[in-house]
Symmetry: C2
Subunit: 315 residues, 2 copies
């Protein structure tokens, strides 16, 4: 198989016609239609072998995750994900790896109603870069900057399991399958993001770690936040861990792809309703306040400082 | 410097407010406004160290080229380039390299009125991935698929100098500065692309090599093409080479980022005018025909077959 054959195969995989796609894969650029009254959302993330995934991971799962982390950015903005561009590189002999990664991307794309409209392949290390395009009603995107002191801090689902799996793998242990699933196949919270439009005052997805990402909301909103450690939603897997170790994973582990958002206190009833409707746990873990920074309060009411607040690749 | 500092610095470099940008760098996604009556164009290409550039190249020139090759895709579609997303990776100790690449991207972006609105950085090999977004009037994008038998095949500028420079570098020689400039700093033909909207029947940019790219037009348009070798525009640098070697570079070298397009014969006068207006050579090198494939005719009127028709990374 050659590179051109692969592009041809990808073109066949992608079901056309698709809404908004005038010209998809196969020209110099995709031609797309943005409906009147909507704004365009664009995000780009990449996954690199031995940094974000192991090159021994099943390639279809690498592709799944590369799209999922970008869908998670769309969820965090309250957007409808629409189109993706996919760049993949692999060593010269591994066109098969590229094909399997692409298959993983296309599978999740179909599930989420996303159309692959372009991209590039190259010889290089094992790496995948996805650019995601979506739409949101004009002026309604969920930004990081709208939180106000007094707003409640809410997190969806549970955090820390991806970090738990990663720690096991790094030690050479086999991680429990539910934790591995959370690491390799995070479920982007698209429906939640859409439902939060007009409700949440600020929103972010938890890729760097809960504290680091809540810190981004606090900074962008020119305020601070306080998190109560005894409020953190805890999976049965993490429940048995010593508290310190558990908190580190839940607050600093990263790779969770849940949403962290803020809501005015008087909207709490709507959240309860939403949680039931989506069958998704939504937990109030703290409150925004005036004091800059994110503070953690342990069950005894004392300040607690984690060893690490999130991921930094370059230190 | 940390990764977060770098993103903050990038945010400061990018002049805001910018037309169409509601929210740029610094949230989960950029929020962009597409004007009514326009379609969105999206393309993505990447440059990988030791594949598309040498890691000893000046990083600002790597950044320049990463954006330039994507601008070239916009030119080939007749689009107005508007927004870019930039992903850069480098080994852990080389945040400085990332910063200098980004500076090269931002410099060309400013020259071309493009705004950097998002992206990602990571530890990895030296690599740069750019996604380019642009606009074109509804239904007016220059596709590969509109050529008809009888249409003239036109190429802008001159091809082959980038291949000449690359060959010299691979031999360990110092390439002539004008050839090196063509390789490292190709000038995307944005103004030409815009001027061809409504005139050209098909258009592509020459990144894979003239014959391969003209072949893409022929295939997409369900016809063929014949190129006359004595019509190829030849730079003074390549004029002294033996004909066979010169043709190989001009037709199969790739990395030229000129435009190859087709026009109905009765529009020739407009092209002459356009060439003068843009101060850019536009040369008719052949004609589209019914016979599938791209045929080359040498000065003696015989068929000529190149050893290589273009770039294939995976063979």
């Amino acid at each position: 198989m050659t590179e051109f054959n692969l592009i041809e195969r990808l073109r066949q995989w992608v079901s056309m016609p698709a809404p908004g796609v005038v010209t998809g894969i196969g020209d110099d650029a995709a031609v797309l239609t943005v409906e009147p009254g909507f704004e365009l959302l664009a995000s780009s993330d990449w996954l690199i072998g031995e940094v974000h995934f192991f090159i021994t991971d099943p390639p279809a799962l690498v592709g799944y995750k590369a799209l999922a982390v970008n869908l998670s950015d769309m969820a965090a903005m309250g957007a409808i994900p629409r189109w993706a561009l996919l760049n993949i590189s692999a060593p010269a002999q591994e066109l098969k790896w590229i094909e399997e990664v692409a298959a993983g991307v296309v599978e999740l794309a179909e599930q989420e109603g996303v159309v692959l409209v372009g991209g590039d392949t190259s010889v290089g290390q094992h790496a995948v870069s996805v650019t995601m395009l979506g739409l949101v009603e004009q002026g309604r995107a969920l930004l990081r900057s709208g939180a106000k002191p007094g707003d409640l801090v809410v997190v969806s689902g549970k955090t820390g399991e991806a970090a738990y799996a990663l720690e096991a793998i790094r030690k050479g242990d086999e991680p429990p399958s539910e934790a591995l699933h959370r690491l390799q196949q995070p479920r982007p919270r698209i429906a939640l993001g859409r439902a939060l439009v007009g409700k949440a005052s600020a929103c972010i997805d938890i890729s760097d770690g809960l504290l680091a990402d809540l810190g981004h909301i606090a900074t962008a909103s020119s305020c601070g936040a306080t998190v109560k450690l005894n409020k953190l939603p805890t999976s049965s897997l993490l429940e048995t861990l010593p508290a310190q170790r558990r908190w580190e994973m839940q607050l600093g582990g990263g790779d969770d792809y849940e949403l962290c958002f803020t809501v005015p206190q008087d909207r709490m009833a709507e959240l309860t309703h939403l949680s039931a409707q989506l069958n998704l746990e939504l937990t109030v873990i703290g409150v925004m306040d005036e004091e800059p920074g994110v503070k953690c309060i342990d069950p005894a009411g004392r300040r607690w400082e984690p060893r690490r607040r999130g991921w930094e690749h370059f230190e």
